[in-house]
Amino acid sequence: MKIEGNELIISGVVATIDRDNIDTDQIIPTEYLKSIKKFGFEDYLFDGWRYLDEGKLGISKNDREQNPDFILNQVPYDKATILLTRDNFGCGSSREHAVWALRDFGIKIVIASSFGDIFYNNCFKNGVLPIKLDKNKIEDLFQKMSDNSADLSVSLDSKKIFQNENELYSFDVEENLLERIIYGLDDVDMTLKHKAKILAFEQTRMKNTPWIFSND
């Protein structure tokens, strides 16, 4: 993220994966969910497609047999900051590790025609911006990205996508969610500002539905 003029801009290389329904098992397989850390997942992103051999938690990409046909193993896409894909990206399991792997690899924006609901939420907790565009715009972007000009810029202020200074599309995202990315806000701190309200609600609930609290 950087400021250009008065605008907050994310720009960089766009990697494309032309598939619908990419599930979180593809983004990061279960083997790597054995980690108890929140960082260090970059080498396992799209593990099944990125490598020809089977991996284990702790084995780095340099000790793996890389699949030369997979886009993230190719220059300049190995430094991609934007991922372009199709429908229902991030469906399946709730694993936040999928977003951690994208983030650790350096992906800051995922553009798709739709997202799995849980994945979409998880993105905003980790500074990754999911952008939804209509299917025809996604198709158009795939065309544009195949013409050897694999860079895009995204303005978080005007919510617009640019290619070589030319405005392509605007996108919608809830302001409060976007702010979490821009300011790196922590949800727990924000919610605890409502502590009194939560306590009052809980007291009333204990009175009205005591059975919920019967094992307390």
């Binding site: 279960t30 083997e31 399946g92 849980i118 409060n176 969610l177 727990v188 919610t191 309200k197 059975w211």
Partner: protein, 466 residues
């Protein structure tokens, strides 16, 4: 204004509106397991916080646990060092914070979505969360239940609330009588096939209709469990007499508490004239046993139907289907019944409850596992399911037939424990996801009901249940 069941649950738990899109909801129950909780506990510790309401949380290890444990197995006996660290971490965190855990030595240990209802911790009208997308299972009790990410697990531990946007309302009505050999697993696979894995995105799906009213809590759990495979993180069913009887048998509520609760629970139904953003009605009497052929839970066919020929698939799906067929090793003009199977897995949070095991045992009784099958395993969902099955002699039926009878856990549903497919092995599985590599690197998964999986074990192939 008339309200849906989801609207009512939302309002009952609504603390405050935060901004244009999000509200703060009160969370009644959180289930924890070893995979998605360690980073949440670490975050809590770093902030110097403790769980807001300790007893709202119930923990058990399930994803990593080996299913060949035998007597007096402890966490330290787990052979895979990395899995052991994760399960140990859950033990440590539960001890440190004082959270109730059914650990690996407990008779109550099991898959988190099996033990919650079975031990009576899931009650109608609750908001329930867990760092696992199959939390939708608990919606079968008229709960607002959903899977969340690890940051949210930490948030719920710290604040007993969740920041959420309200979902849209969708209703799916299943009417009619099922054909012989058709179970709730077939019904939900048929739904996913019909609306696609993104069909329920952004919606809470309420399941209703005469079929839903007629089936058991366990069958209802199977349907709500897989609402996430239809894209909906929330699936729910209005509680009725079937629900109340189950809860009476399983909860630890006193008679007085139960009566008190009943007066509230009976109001948990969608109003007659409530409107839904999307509504679908399916005549289930036409549905045959369903089997997935590809790498997405929407790639489903009738068991005796030809797998889609690429020549007749339209543009958008063509590439997806082509990749799926290649991965699954399926040729043109094949049916699922033409495929030779290597392994059978009966288990998972979708289908590892006692009725599932009875269904499978019924067709196995007196038969033998086919010589083509390398291994067929039955993994009960919990210690209590295992105990019940053994008291009914189901383990004997399975073992006599050549199945392996295991200890409870997520097992071969996902590749986190020793139960995994080897590359290119084809598996008949009662689990919920047929994604690439889900059951092991390059493994090939076909989802189906326990009855169909058991028949596949006996025949080495998918066969007609009638």
């Amino acid at each position: 204004m008339p309200k849906t069941l989801y609207d009512k649950l939302w309002e009952e738990h609504h603390i405050t509106t935060l901004d244009s899109s999000e509200s703060l909801l009160y969370i009644d129950r959180q289930y924890l397991h070893e995979v998605t909780s360690p980073q949440a506990f670490e975050g809590l510790s770093k902030k110097g916080l403790s769980p807001w309401r300790l007893n709202a949380n119930i923990a058990t290890p399930d994803h990593n646990v080996p299913t060949e444990r035998g007597e007096s197995f402890k966490t330290e006996n787990i052979k895979d060092e990395i899995s052991k660290i994760q399960v140990t971490e859950l033990d440590k965190n539960c001890n440190k914070f004082g959270i109730k855990q059914f650990d690996i030595t407990s008779i109550n240990q099991g898959i988190v979505h099996v033990i919650g209802p079975e031990l009576g911790y899931t009650l109608p009208g609750m908001t329930i969360v867990c760092g696992d997308s199959h939390t939708s299972t608990h919606g079968a009790f008229g709960c607002l239940a959903m899977g969340i990410g690890t940051s949210e697990v930490e948030h719920v531990l710290a604040t007993q609330t969740l920041k959420v946007s309200k979902l849209k309302n969708m209703r799916v009505k299943f009417n009619g009588e099922p054909q012989e050999g058709v179970t709730s697993k077939d019904i939900v696979l048929f739904l996913i096939r019909t609306i696609g894995t993104a069909g329920g995105n952004g919606h809470a799906i309420e399941f209703a209709g005469s079929y839903i009213e007629s089936i058991s809590m366990e069958a209802r759990m199977t349907i709500c469990n897989m609402s996430i495979e239809a894209g909906a993180k929330v699936g729910l069913i209005a509680p009725d007499a079937t629900t109340f009887n189950y809860v009476k048998d399983h909860s630890q509520l006193s008679e007085e508490e139960f009566e008190d609760a009943m007066s509230h629970w009976t109001s948990l139904v969608s109003d007659n004239d409530a409107s839904f953003d999307k509504e679908i009605e399916i005549d289930i009497s036409l549905i045959k046993p369903q089997v997935t052929w590809g790498t997405s839970p929407e790639m489903v066919v009738d068991f005796d139907q030809e797998i889609p020929n690429l020549d007749f698939v339209d543009g958008e799906n063509k590439r997806n289907y082509e990749l799926a067929k290649k991965y699954m090793g399926i040729e043109e003009n094949q049916k699922v019944t033409d495929l030779k199977f290597d392994r059978v897995f009966i288990g998972s949070c979708t289908n590892s409850r006692i009725e599932d095991l009875r269904d499978a045992a019924k067709v196995v009784d007196g038969k033998k596992v086919s010589e083509d099958i390398i291994e067929a395993i039955v993994v009960p969902g919990s210690g209590l399911v295992k105990e019940q099955a053994e008291s009914e002699g189901l383990n004997i039926i399975f073992e006599k037939a050549g199945f392996v009878w295991r200890d409870p856990g997520c097992s071969m549903c996902l590749g986190m424990n020793p139960d995994q497919l080897k590359p290119y092995e084809r598996c008949a599985s009662t689990s919920n996801r047929n994604f690439e590599g889900r059951q092991g690197n390059l493994g090939r998964t076909h989802l189906m009901s326990p009855l169909m999986a058991a028949l596949t074990a006996v025949n080495g192939r998918v066969v007609d249940p009638s």
